[in-house]
């Protein structure tokens, strides 16, 4: 089993998750690296009860929680970065990123998992270790917050 190949297939998703929850590319890279390091350490304990993707994201979630615990911050105030790839509409994209970054962490996370990375609410609930119903409520609120903030922004 080539663990490096398995990890690499989820590398981008994990990175995207961190970029949009912490709002900083460099920090996202560090946290993604930390996630895969921890995954190496706990690979022997992985029993295949959840998908590799869910397992990796549950580790990423813990890395994120540890980061915020150390920082004692609720909302990231990092300076927004321009995306590294050409956006369809750079102005819109920056606006979206700004609005997303201004949301509470829980909302940012819910939107990143489901609306950016395409997790189903059940998959995302497993990754963050809450019940699917609780996560659906969180996602619903996050989407409402995003919509209100975005409309106000524009």
């Amino acid at each position: 089993m080539d663990i490096e190949a398995i990890f690499r297939s989820h590398q981008k998703e994990i990175f995207v998750y961190f970029v949009h929850t912490v709002g900083d590319r460099h920090l996202g890279e560090d946290l993604a690296q930390e996630t895969f390091m921890r995954a190496c350490g706990s690979a022997l304990l992985y029993r295949g009860e959840a998908s590799v993707r869910t397992w990796l994201f549950s580790i990423a979630r813990r890395v994120l929680a540890d980061h915020f615990r150390r920082q004692s911050v609720e909302v990231c105030s990092a300076v927004p970065e321009v995306a590294a790839c050409p956006p369809r509409d750079p102005v819109v994209r920056l606006a979206i990123e700004d609005v997303l970054r201004a949301l509470p962490v829980g909302a940012r996370e819910a939107l990143t998992l489901c609306d950016v990375l395409g997790f189903t609410p059940t998959e995302a609930a497993n990754a963050v270790r809450v019940s699917p119903n609780a996560f659906r409520v969180r996602l619903h609120r996050a989407r409402r917050l995003f919509r209100e903030a975005y409309l106000n922004e524009r």
Binding site: E4, F7, R8, Q11, K12, E13, I14, F15, V16, V19, H20, E29, A32, Q33, E34, T35, F36, M37, A39, C40, G41, A83, A84, C85, P87, R88, V92, R93, A95, I96, E97, L100, L111, T112, C114, D115, V116, L117, G118, H140, R143, R144, F146, R147, Y150, L151, R154
Partner: protein, 223 residues
């Protein structure tokens, strides 16, 4: 930009484009860091084990022996001699080692030991519960012995609980031609006699009963 751009309660469609970013190579770096950390951890653990193996004998070795504890401990001289041919035991002194322990210092010799023969002193298992006039069961005495005079004498220190009136000491010789070379009648006789109950080896010489009250050892030792 209107509400329809963000949809209703359904997924805000435009958010999906946020996944289109260049991802740096983090897996290789993570694996490299993990291997380095594991190797460093292994070195630390290995080093700690080596250090412990090197230091442990020194620490254990530096634990004070009974003779060490005797030196400087308060006590009294006794100077009593107990003889049962061919052995002789001189009770030199008694010491108060700590609140719950007293000590007895003796030297034992034996007549007629041959070249290469060594005198051993022991406390037999049956005599571990040394005589006491009354009281609850006591901790077994602790004996520390060192051969002297090319093995023909032995100096011993015994630690025991206060209130112990009698200690039984057994003297044995080992390494004697009397025990016989292989296949000789002496060896057969030695083997038939069996192992000494106290030491499990050698030729039993004599048992010496050290009655401290009878020897006028200070009462704080045996009362």
């Amino acid at each position: 930009m209107s509400a329809k751009d963000v949809g209703d309660d359904e997924r805000p469609l435009r958010l999906a484009q946020l996944a289109e970013i260049d991802s740096p190579e983090v897996v290789s770096d993570a694996l490299r860091r993990f291997r380095r950390r594991t190797a460093a951890w292994g070195l630390w653990v290995g080093g700690a084990v080596v250090v412990a193996l090197v230091l442990l004998p020194r620490i254990v070795g530096s634990t004070p022996t009974l003779p060490d504890r005797f030196r400087g401990a308060p006590g009294d001289s006794v100077g009593a001699i107990l003889e049962r041919h061919p052995v002789r035991v001189v009770v030199l002194d008694v010491r108060r080692l700590d609140r719950g322990t007293v000590g007895l210092h003796v030297v034992a010799t034996a007549d007629g030991l041959e070249e290469g023969e060594e005198l051993l002193i022991s406390m037999p298992p049956s005599g571990i519960q040394a005589d006491r006039p009354a009281g609850p069961p006591i901790e077994p005495p602790l004996l520390y012995a060192e051969p002297t005079r090319q093995g023909h004498a032995v100096e011993a220190w015994v630690a025991f609980q206060p209130g112990t009136r009698v200690l039984n000491l057994e003297l044995t010789s080992v390494g004697s031609a009397r025990q016989g070379a292989a296949g000789t009648p002496q060896e057969d006789a030695f083997r038939r006699r069996g192992a000494h109950p106290g030491t499990g080896q050698g030729t039993p010489l004599e048992s010496i009963r050290v009655d401290m009250e009878a020897l006028n050892v200070p009462a704080w030792v045996w009362r």
